[in-house]
């Protein structure tokens, strides 16, 4: 009897440890795969910046379209960093448009990797999971659009950010 109880307790402890370790390994591989994807994208953007001295509008749109196709459940908010040299860039420290040969520019990509946790409950909203037949509710449910607005307002700390500081290699005769 004692042995059986011991065995049960050992199993109760082992199972969550195994689950935690498994999710940890999944996240490690997921993060590594996502990082290499973003690294490849950042390198492509860097090459564009090298030969043009900035990200021209056409290439910007192409890269953005590729970023949108890369987004998934675990990888989101893929975009150029705020200090990337673009044709119509905004943000602190950004210089708009092209610069002359030899001047340093910055090209970077950022993304947010969402960690996969066990027992994650999807958000319940008034639209999807309303409480039927109850008029006296003590809990107020947000609608899908209200919840999305709240999520957008929340700060997204991009946990993947790859940035290159490179010289512009294109000589523009129309610049000083």
């Amino acid at each position: 009897m004692e042995d059986t109880v011991k065995f049960i307790f050992k199993t109760l402890i082992k199972v969550p440890i195994i689950i935690t370790v498994t999710y940890f390994l999944i996240n490690v591989f997921g993060f590594a795969a996502s990082y290499f994807k973003i690294q490849g994208l950042a390198y492509s953007a860097m090459q564009v910046g090298l030969v043009n001295n900035y990200i021209p509008t056409n290439e910007y749109d192409s890269l953005h379209s590729y970023m949108n196709s890369m987004e998934s459940y675990i990888l989101s908010d893929i975009d150029f960093t705020d200090n990337t040299q673009t044709a119509t860039g905004t943000g602190s420290g950004n210089r708009e448009g092209k610069v002359q040969y030899g001047n340093e520019i910055t090209v970077g990509i950022k993304a947010n990797y969402k960690w996969i946790m066990p027992l994650t409950v999807p958000e319940q909203t008034a639209d999807g999971n309303g409480v039927a037949g109850t008029t006296d509710r003590t809990v107020v449910w947000k609608s899908d659009s209200e919840l999305q607005a709240a999520l957008d307002d929340a700060e997204h700390d991009n946990n993947i950010e790859i940035s290159y500081t490179i010289p512009g290699l294109q000589y523009y005769p129309d610049l000083n």
């Binding site: 090459q47 030899g102 500081t165 294109q170 000589y171 000083n176």
Partner: protein, 320 residues
Amino acid sequence: MSPTKVLKVLIMTVVIMGVSFVFIEMMNVENTSARFRNTCVTALNMSCNYFGQETYKRSDFGTVDVEDIKGNTGEVAVSGRFYNGSNADAVYNDLYGSSYEFKSWANRFRSYYSNIAMLSWGLNRTEINSDIVGRVGIDVATAKSNGEHYVNAKMTPLNLGVPYLDKNSIEKIFKWQLVKILSNGKEENVVLDDGRYVKYNGFNVYFDTIAVRDITYNVYDIKDTTQRREFEKLTSIDATKLGIGDNDERRYITIASLSYSVDVTYTGVTPLREFMKFIWDTPNSTDVENMGESQTMTGGGLTGDNSLPTLGNVLYYIVR
């Protein structure tokens, strides 16, 4: 926990760490080496473009030089001065007038291009063959006069539609560009006090060894079937659609092929070397201490000075 179990856990930890480090290093070498090679090719291509811009002819000559690249000690690692001379005339003379390299190049190509024959006369008073200039319908006296006008206007072979690249200038531009890219804008990545190299994702790139090994010029007569096929293979241009006649000297298209070399050493991004030293090094053994720095490492194509040359080729041509 019994000592046996503790030992097993320790050994397992060491094995897992070692395997992880090796895996990470393999991934890093695979990714970085491909990107590094592409970066070299891009930098060399853009060097040729920059040389073709002939920035030394700018009226505000003082802005021709670019910023020197400084290292971690604050000293200059790579100069931003690409041309020899304090003004446009001096640079032009250095590149074409007094250059032995250009003279030997022009001796070969003046038989193909009348413009080069005229320029050669203007610069070095090399005699003009009447047959060559006769192809374009001018006599020798007119050709000589044209040659002098070319020099007064600082015309170059590139202006005349024939690729000629000064090896020293291209090498300086290439070196500056490559070091600037690899250093990622950080002076601490350019090491001067412990050797002279740029740190790049686990690689040490020895910037003093960055060199344009050779610039080879091959002329392709697109009216000759065999040569036209070779030209198409190199450039993917269908020469039959260019509309060039038999008597047109534009039928001769010159392709410059540049080969470069860069010495690199891989030092790793993980503490794998220290890890292996911890495992294998003994008081009497210096093998691991010298790993990567002596001739005992084989199979990696290391040269005698322990660095691995990375070779590659770039093509430059003009179709008029």
